[in-house]
Symmetry: C2
Subunit: 317 residues, 2 copies
Amino acid sequence: MKLRQMQCFITTVDCDFNVARAAATLHATPPAISKQLRLFEAELGFALFLRAGAKFVGLTRSGEKVLRWSRTALNAAKNIRKISEDARTEGRGKVVIATTYTHARYVLLEAIAEFRKRFPLAQFNLLQGTVSSVRKSVLAGKADFGISLESSVPCDVDIVSQPFLELSQVVVAKPGHAILTADCVTLEELAKYPIIANAASMEEVDRKFRDAGLSVDYVLEARDAEVMKSYASAGLGVAIIPAIAYSETTDTLLRARDLRQLFSPLVSSLLLRRESYLTRSALDFLELISPRFNYDTIRSLLDERSSANDCHSLQSA
Amino acid sequence: MKLRQMQCFITTVDCDFNVARAAATLHATPPAISKQLRLFEAELGFALFLRAGAKFVGLTRSGEKVLRWSRTALNAAKNIRKISEDARTEGRGKVVIATTYTHARYVLLEAIAEFRKRFPLAQFNLLQGTVSSVRKSVLAGKADFGISLESSVPCDVDIVSQPFLELSQVVVAKPGHAILTADCVTLEELAKYPIIANAASMEEVDRKFRDAGLSVDYVLEARDAEVMKSYASAGLGVAIIPAIAYSETTDTLLRARDLRQLFSPLVSSLLLRRESYLTRSALDFLELISPRFNYDTIRSLLDERSSANDCHSLQSA
DNA sequence: GGCTGTTACGCTTCGCGTAATCATG
DNA sequence: CATGATTACGCGAAGCGTAACAGCC
């Protein structure tokens, strides 16, 4: 049994059972992959694939199981490669972070700047995307970890998420806008104006409006606070953005009002994939983001299991 | 990176860093192992071993990490091999059970007999030993699962244990023994006679005696209820054994009295190693042992983790 | 010298790519 | 006939064992 065989197997499955595409992915030729698959099946003594003629169209029941453990083995090999890189590039390793726009721009910026001060050779790669694409990147092992908004969808079992920051929200509008001088910012007051909202934070906001029986004019949903601010300052409506994305000194064409009384804060979470190896640099960086993320916390997060020793009710002998 | 390299690495470590012994274990020659280790280190780019001259005396920090993931990878490969065997020997696969004497003789006997009735080709291998050796066998993956007494030592994180049976205890003595006619079997009454006890169940028994301020004459500690019964029927003392090990009809040279009022029952547990694959036969057998051990229960036992989504206290933004 | 681990060398097998072949719509 | 899997074959690398070599009680 060879890692290469498992790798060919996994890749072929992930390429929708297309051997040619798997070969391209692995920088090899179809015959090479085909042979490995055949050898793997021969060694196991049963078919991994369901075939329609010569084409692969699915996995056998045993194939599914083999796939699961092949992934485990290949993931372990990947982690060993990471350990190797980590050891050789002490402190200079690239940290790959899957994150959203707001986090990249506002939450991570300072941390990365500070980190570079401490480790001038550190490198970063930000995989920017939506909340769900962040989860996908983490799950696929494309990023060392994810920094994203806590999502309401229950987490995959292979991902652990740990909240570490609350982001209160503000409403911003161009100077002189009526909302800025209103006695009190209520839902009713907000609903009078076209709303520019973030796709991610929309959920709770919209629910509140609907619960209050208010119909709202969403002029724009964007991922990017900068875009939202631009539209607001152009007078297209009022934008609901994280407070962290508004600066009194630089956003001279905007004014902000606190919304803490109206909406509960957004929650920033760290996303880690179980069974993944965190490089020294990644661990150091996490500790910088939040002092709670020290080595032991992270370890216990990744190892966390409920102790299955509760006795329940026993049938007597 | 090759599985073979990891295997050589792991084996060398497990053979106390003795390459020759690792070679013998792997049915190979020292040069072959030596070369694999060298190649592995070369590919990783750092030393796995701490050396004293040419001899290996320990692992580097990185070596420890690599060892951990190498074990994961090799375990996955092992599981794939098991899936293969399982698929090819549908229903005829050998089930390897690590267990103690009492469980082998009394708890498993009926279940195995019944299982053979249903699957006449089923094979079993009982690795008999002490409670702690059962755990070792399970942890090392030498057995499909363990059936043993719940031990007071907290379980390894890599093992899940699930109680499924309570074994009440009785005291047995030769016919005519004074304990059999006493009004009531109390600790004081028991302490009058030499005690023959099981090493495993001793713990609680002895604690009770000591708590009551009684000094006890332990004439014998044995693992084996048959041995204990023999000594008791020879008049050497009274034996405390699981009720299941005494039969009124066949143990004609002995009489028993219930001890349920005195000692809490022993608890039989199933021991499973996390990250291990259970064969179809093993799953079927577990379901036979206890209806609670169906496929879903076992799966959830092995997957059990605490959901790490509790928000704790958050620092505000 | 007996215990280690390592190099040298020849043999076999493995894994790959190129090119030709086979199946299927 | 176009697409996609497979077989045929030759080359280079990998993995092994035997034998010889090198450090350390």
